[in-house]
């Protein structure tokens, strides 16, 4: 079982905002872009998700963190150039529990993708599981793979909920992928 670190910190959201930027200035219609998406059910987590970042691990770059759009557990970005990526962190806040950042490990991280050619890449759907720790230990969590929502359900959500995609190349590409998944 892999364990992941939780960091309750007010500064976390600021750091996330400072270290990652959504598209790194790339056009949404850049033909080398890939759409990478996934889902995490945070029902058992201290907070919901309102931020996420994915780390570029290859090729090397001075700006490895890419921000992801987050919509009710759905995480995605459609700006990634070819390379290798892994989910770096998700973050959220609640009135009672404050701000949290959930860090994913750099090694043994299954939420990873190697993009050779531009396309649509599904990281999978997961469910958050808390892990009991000692009083002086940092918080930890685990995530387990689940079968739903499916790739098709999430792609439909992206089309329905992200109005900025209307009229872009992604609208047609997502519809094409959906037709393959039927």
């Amino acid at each position: 079982m892999k364990r992941f670190w939780i960091v309750p910190a007010l500064i976390a959201l600021w750091l996330l905002a400072a270290c990652s930027s959504g598209g790194h200035g790339r056009s949404v219609d850049d033909p080398s872009n890939s759409l990478v998406f996934g889902f995490i059910d945070m029902a058992d987590a201290p907070t919901k998700i309102n931020g996420a970042s994915i780390m570029q691990v290859a090729p090397p770059t001075d700006k490895p963190y890419w921000g992801m759009d987050v919509r009710n557990g759905l995480l995605y970005t459609y700006y990634l150039p070819p390379g290798s990526y892994q989910l770096a962190s998700i973050s959220g806040s609640s009135f009672w529990r404050g701000d949290h950042r959930y860090n994913f490990p750099r090694q043994g991280n299954d939420q990873a993708v190697r993009i050779g050619k531009p396309g649509i890449y599904f990281l999978g759907s997961y469910r958050y599981k808390g892990v009991k720790t000692g009083f002086f230990e940092g918080g930890k969590f685990d995530i387990e793979r689940v079968n739903t929502p499916t790739e098709a359900e999430l792609l439909r959500r992206i089309l329905e909920e992200d109005s900025t995609l209307k009229g872009t190349a992604w609208e047609a590409k997502i519809r094409q992928r959906l037709s393959q998944l039927k």
């Binding site: 090397p60 299954d110 396309g119």
Partner: protein, 206 residues
């Protein structure tokens, strides 16, 4: 909070943990019943710029360094090593020979740790062990070989080898310690099953 946690970890490693095996630069510092061990750890490919992000105060010394956790008995490297697990570690600068002294008795390398992030988050990569170092009573200086870890960009370990680079190591040893004490070759031995070989790389379909 994150930075405080990372700082505490760094301070713990720097100050509170039992000491590492002491590096030696001359034979004078080696007592009876002690052996100089000479070896090297190599990552293939080596760490690239930006793969280690050690930004917390006092963590710079972990740059390009692997901590080899050792012990008298063979046991797996813990997922979350406790402070005591760092006792008698070898602090091996990646790609360079290390020269440390230890008791003249066989021991095991449980595995290695490289700190990848110490700053806004804490992340480390683990390297498999179960590796036997066959020191004998009376050994004064022993070459144990190069421990070569092959890995991919996700730090999945794809192969582990022990490589004999005795000639280069002996030349460096002689330059440092003179020719008074011969460097015996006793290469580390990997466990028969192979530690963590060819781990699965989980990639999204398509």
């Amino acid at each position: 909070m994150t930075r405080v946690f990372v700082l505490l970890t760094a301070l713990a490693l720097a100050g509170c943990v039992p000491s590492a095996l002491a590096p030696v630069s001359s034979a004078d510092g080696v007592g009876g019943g002690e052996t100089i061990i000479v070896g090297r750890v190599e990552l293939v490919p080596p760490l690239r710029k930006g793969e280690q992000r050690l930004t917390a105060m006092g963590t710079g010394s972990y740059q390009n360094l692997m901590l080899l956790l050792t012990g008298e008995r063979d046991r797996p490297l813990p997922t979350d090593p406790k402070i005591a697990d760092y006792a008698d570690r070898i602090e091996a600068p990646l790609g360079s020979h290390f020269f440390v002294r230890t008791r003249s008795a066989p021991f095991y390398i449980h595995g290695g740790i490289v700190f990848l992030d110490m700053g806004s988050s804490m992340n480390r990569a683990h390297f498999p062990g179960g590796i036997r170092v066959a020191l004998k009573e009376g050994d004064r200086a022993v070459y144990i070989g190069t421990l070569r870890y092959h890995r991919n960009e996700f730090f999945d370990i794809t192969d582990v080898q022990v490589v004999d680079e005795y000639a280069a190591a002996n030349a460096e040893y002689s330059k440092k310690f003179g020719n008074g004490v011969a460097l015996r070759k006793a290469l580390m031995t990997l466990p028969k099953s192979g530690p963590g070989r060819a781990k699965r790389v989980a990639l999204a379909p398509n």
